[in-house]
Symmetry: C2
Subunit: 346 residues, 2 copies
């Protein structure tokens, strides 16, 4: 029989938790209960978690609650976290992975603290110089993996090459039937464009490009990210963070304006009757909750960060992402890719 | 009597020119003819321009055509431009500004070449270390000035401070009744976030902030650019270029999906009858042609770059931008701001 996947969840992180996290879990269980190939460990305050489990009628067949007295506060900074976060629900959640009790961890709590304690507890893979935060970003044909989204605000060419290996490993674990097509984010598509760091990374990625690992497609500009001609987009954490947030802000600005326009008078309200299902489909396709979950890559175990402000549906998508990542053997994919990188260097 | 504003236009640059540029001019003339405070010099092939002037019934009262045999090709690179672009319509257009024959230049031609020859002919203002490319970006309450958009892919803290002075001068020339509120684009809003360069620029901008010049509002994240709490956004050319193009790509992705959804079946098509005017207003508000025109700042004379692929309406908006910039005394505003910077340094 196949080994069960164990997901460790910090039930206390993010707004409106553990209500949100447990409701998200109940959605995941409903959709996946027939699979019977997973187990969930919930970390947090038993006295708050148990009533929520009852509320959503969650049986204990696939879950276990591990009590923690404290939780990481939103005000905590990465600098104070190490001292203050020991034995919090987040800490215990990540630590269980080190002990071999889980394959992956998930939290909607404080991002800075999560990155710091994950790195401290799980340690970086020995071949790597920096870990990276990767996210999913919709495109015309499906989904991009974009990294780094802010774990490293300054990167050299070797970091970018490592991100390409990490990102394509993640892509292969999520979409085993697709080939990872890697692009480097830049201000133009011509070879002469960009910083010296980008030009060096370009040459190295060109040398590494092969059918077994990833195909390097060259530079990509910001306006082409969603065109679907590529599916792993590599950049430093500063640029990636600004690009992702700018896209979020633009999407919000447009949909807010659209909403205002379509409810501005009685005629437009009538129009909504006729376009209701089409607009619902439109909204569904662009629903940011479906892409909820940034993946911290490069440690001896994957950690997923859910958006703190998401709701139960968003949190469900993060649990599902964890399940798919482990099912797709992310860690093996990363090891394979890093071996490929090592062989190339020799 | 007030001195007339003279705008030098490269009639040959961009797709479908001079048809587009002359049609854009005809729209500008129709809307502004009663003002009688401007004059337009058109640079390009007389034999192609004259028939277009006739087609749009443009009288010669406010315009003059200056013949050029050649034009800058789209394939030209900044490296070869200096040798090959002499006496092209673009060159002659910019050069007329140096001779005192125009207050501002406008071209929809090759961006790289325009930046190189503008800088060569007009020279940088002596107090500055780098020129910058600024653009307009809509927000909830009106318009942002964002710079740099790609003239300088690597910048230090002094460059960013200069961009803040240039950008707020531009903002004051365009919106004389508003106060420029300057923000620095970063990956977080807390003071500890970002690169050392950003932290140094933050401290310098904080010291420079005053009621007469600009108010410094601190860091801004990508998702807040369109919130309208600030109106001058400062960043290096790499980040600015990626952010702007990512916003364009996101807007296109969303509106393409919306269009597809709203024309997917007979019911949604009926809905369009009821929402037609509201959606037209929505489209109008977000129409990128209204923000067409990037402003090259820091030279001894402003140069405006229209998008090469825009149409006559987009080009009209660029001409209008030129008119407003000169009317708002951009060069004086810049000189004032740079004096303020010099005084602070002493």
């Amino acid at each position: 029989m196949e080994k069960k996947i164990t997901i460790a969840i910090d039930a206390m992180g993010g707004d409106n938790s553990p209500n949100k996290t447990i409701e998200g879990l109940s959605i995941f269980l409903k959709k996946n209960i027939q699979k019977k190939d997973f187990f969930i460990n919930l970390y947090g305050d038993k006295n708050k978690i148990e009533p929520e489990l009852n509320k959503f009628s969650i049986s204990k067949e696939f879950i276990k609650v591990v009590h923690s007295d404290s939780e990481v506060s939103d005000d905590e900074t990465p600098l104070t976290a190490v001292k203050n976060s020991k034995n919090t629900s987040m800490w215990n959640c990540i630590h269980s992975q080190k002990e071999g009790d889980a394959d992956i961890s998930l939290s909607a709590g404080n991002t800075g603290v999560l990155l710091v304690i994950s790195r401290m507890i799980l340690k970086m893979m020995s071949q790597l110089s920096k870990p990276a935060l990767a996210g999913l970003w919709p495109n015309r044909n499906g989904m991009n993996v974009v990294l780094d989204l802010g774990a490293n605000i300054e990167c050299n060419d070797d970091n970018l090459v490592e991100f390409a290996e990490l990102g394509s490993a993640l892509y292969k674990s999520l979409y085993p039937h697709d080939k990872p097509l890697v692009s480097l984010l830049n201000v133009g598509s011509e070879e002469i464009k960009g910083t010296e760091i980008l030009k060096k990374a370009y040459r190295k990625l060109n040398d590494l490009s092969d059918e077994n690992n990833f195909i390097f497609k060259g530079y990509i500009e910001g306006n082409k990210i969603m065109d679907g001609d590529t599916n792993v987009i590599v950049t430093d954490g500063f640029t990636g963070n600004v690009a992702l947030k700018t896209a979020e802000g633009t999407a919000k600005f447009i949909t807010d304006n659209l909403k205002k326009s379509l409810t501005s008078n009685i005629l437009t309200k009538i129009s909504l009757i006729f376009s209701y299902f089409a607009l619902k489909k439109f909204k569904n396709k662009l629903d940011p909750r479906k892409y909820n979950g940034a993946i911290f890559l490069g440690l001896n175990g994957p950690v997923v960060k859910s958006h703190g402000g998401t709701d139960a549906i968003g949190f469900y998508h993060s649990i599902n992402l964890c399940y798919k990542i482990v099912k797709g053997n992310l860690l093996d994919q990363i090891r394979n890719n890093l071996d490929h990188l090592d062989n190339e260097k020799q």
